[in-house]
Symmetry: C2
Subunit: 415 residues, 2 copies
């Protein structure tokens, strides 16, 4: 009987049981002396209203799992060689990675939940996000099923298999829909994600373009995919003056450095950190021309990708040669209508997360780990959905004013 | 990924991957010199109309599996000790079993199916039935799924899990229903039966009274259960004159010898070999008084168990102290209504087979292996359902006349 949840083994299987962008972003931070030693505090945030995780997740078990992550180490042979073979990582960075131990975490249990934070030099704290989210998710679902018999668990898994089967059957009818599996951070469990990615790889070989999870990419012969994350822009912003110009400079320096470091292959921009209107107003023309894709992570996808097309067009780029990567709370009907809407106008490919890897009949958690303080300054993320904003109310208000953020769109985060 | 069908491994896992009654019956035959060397021919019969097994089952694979069975051997330690621990097997029989190799099989593929027969001394041919049925079933379902992807197979399994889950949920609502798992001969696959019995053992510990499969009984700490089979009476009948008295003598000698050999614990009679009316008319009073149970394997279960009660009562036995074991094509609604009908009048416990171990969305096969010739004489089984009769038309007519068989009941064998 396949345990669909990793009872009795660690949640995080290896240092590769993480998203590939953690290595590209990690090297980005490591490679820039201005960024490497910035003190950054990351915090866990549960956006799911009405769920007290502290009641479900055993503190001792959570500590054990987090402690275990601090013992993980890349292996000298296979894992190091895999990174080397990507052709984008410097030996200096690989040497750093090999020695890396994650900084201590801080965990406090309270009546209404727990606080979980990670503090230290950015070059090291950046790696905590994914394993910590994996742990919280898996312990949460383990906790919900604490009193289930093995056979009850088999039945949960069977229901998941049949939902997955239906999804695959639907996707086969829409061969133009392609996607990357992005569900590591919100997965039901490690084994379940393995099952899902294995099924996608077997059943949809021309539609599954990759997975964000390095371990699974290797296991299934897939491309490990990822884009730069909000956190890069958030922390870099703290290094610039608290002005509109400072915010523009932070954003455009990120775009500049990322391009110089990784070039066309990894040129996927993320326009919504401070609302996509700010990005489309201030991002340089060369990005519109040269970068291959934008990832659309909040707001109404049709509206947002239309902005993307308008931006490309305005700067003389041909949108039909570009790619839009919607990745926000996707379910199949939405993917089908987005692909259909933009067919022939801009290529679309999807970053499919929670609904792919956590659809077994339990409500998914909407949890994130984001940088909240850098260099002693409170950080902010706005996104195109004010319900997804991160930061203190004062900081959010200040940043909204600086970027001229006027978004009314608010949607409860289902995922 | 658990293969729910044993692709790439042998269908028959061990000499214990058989029904327990093969050992009690096998010793019965071995212990009686009159029976031991009787030349018996067993034949495979496919009662499922419209299904040509030869089109689905690869001949080469079938031969490989049957050949493999001839290499199986009980192991000296654990398996021998298990049999010894039952307290009913003689050292002489165990020595015989240890050396036993099954006699050759005869297999011929034709346009409309294959013929599969086993011929030799009864003490050896008796063991072919179960492994051969296991093989035909599993190769048939493997064949049906030949072009399925691994994930298609996972989905078949998931549907099976959810059907099983529903059955278990229903059974939990009827705690008076108890049963023995009898599905080895009709199972979808070895691994699937293992799954089913494991789930029953975990979820219904007070309702599952055992399994017929020796290997699974050991694996799950269950009682290995079984009754004497039709074949004993069929072959013994061939040793007596072809008269009504001869048929009665064969039946009553079987009852006498079985009781002497195994006593109360194994005293479950099978009244329907030549129609239960014959049995209830001719079986001796001491059987009605002393034997603990009758198994009801054909005909309408309510009618048949009513006959059982009437027979017990007529002979002065108290039916409320006796047990009826319906085992014919059972599904849950039937089990519930039978238990309910007889509640307080006679104990019921069910022998649950095909619907337990082969309910994954494919039509089950109704296949049997029965002795067809013994001592050069054609054998007959009538049962209470003329659709289940075995034998040539002439032999059936002859035996019907001898036993005064007047049954009109005919029901297509779903299982």
């Amino acid at each position: 009987m396949l345990p669909f949840s990793s009872f009795g083994e660690s949640v995080v299987g290896s240092p590769f049981d993480t998203d590939f962008y953690k290595f590209t972003s990690g090297q980005f931070v490591f490679a820039h002396k201005e960024l490497r030693d910035v003190q950054v505090k990351y915090a866990f945030v549960n956006r799911t209203k009405g769920i007290n995780l502290a009641r479900v997740i055993d503190e001792h078990r959570l500590r054990e799992e987090l402690d275990e992550v601090r013992t993980l180490q890349l292996d000298e042979g296979h894992q190091m060689n895999y990174l080397r073979a990507q052709g984008i990582f410097s030996e200096e960075y690989l040497k750093f990675l090999k020695k890396l131990r994650l900084p201590p975490y801080s965990l406090e249990y309270g009546k209404n939940g727990f606080t979980l934070t990670f503090e230290g030099p950015w070059a090291k704290t950046i790696y905590w996000e994914i394993p910590a989210l994996e742990i919280v998710n898996e312990l949460y679902y383990c906790g919900l099923m604490k009193n289930y018999s093995d056979f009850d668990r088999e039945a949960v898994r069977a229901r998941g298999i049949l939902r997955l089967y239906d999804k695959i059957a639907t996707l086969k009818q829409f061969p133009k829909i392609t996607f990357v599996e992005f569900g590591t951070r919100r997965r039901f469990s490690r084994n379940w994600q393995e099952e899902v990615v294995g099924a996608f790889a077997e059943e949809l070989p021309t539609q599954l373009l990759g997975t964000s999870n390095v371990h699974l990419a290797i296991n299934h012969g897939l491309k490990a995919s990822g884009t730069y994350p909000h956190e890069l822009q958030m922390v870099m912003t703290s290094l610039y003056p608290e002005t509109t110009d400072g915010m523009v400079a932070a954003q455009n320096t990120l775009l500049d450095w990322w391009w110089k470091q990784y070039g066309y292959d990894y040129s996927v921009a993320l326009p919504d950190t401070y609302g996509s209107d700010f990005f489309y107003r201030t991002a340089p023309a060369w990005v519109a021309e040269l970068w291959k894709a934008n990832r659309q992570d909040s707001g109404d996808p049709i509206t947002e990708v239309e902005k993307d097309i308008a931006w490309r067009t305005r700067h003389g780029a041909d949108p039909t040669k570009k790619l839009a990567i919607p990745s926000d709370g996707l379910e199949l009907p939405k993917m089908i209508s987005i692909q259909n809407h933009f067919d022939g106008r801009i290529a679309t490919s999807f970053g499919w997360g929670t609904n792919a890897t956590n659809d077994l009949g339990f409500d998914p958690l909407s949890i994130v780990i984001k940088p909240v303080v850098a260099n002693g300054k409170g950080l902010v993320k706005l996104s195109n959905n004010i319900a997804k904003a991160i930061g203190t109310p004062e900081d959010i208000a200040r940043v909204r004013a600086l970027v001229g953020y006027d978004v009314k769109y608010s949607e409860t985060c289902k995922y």
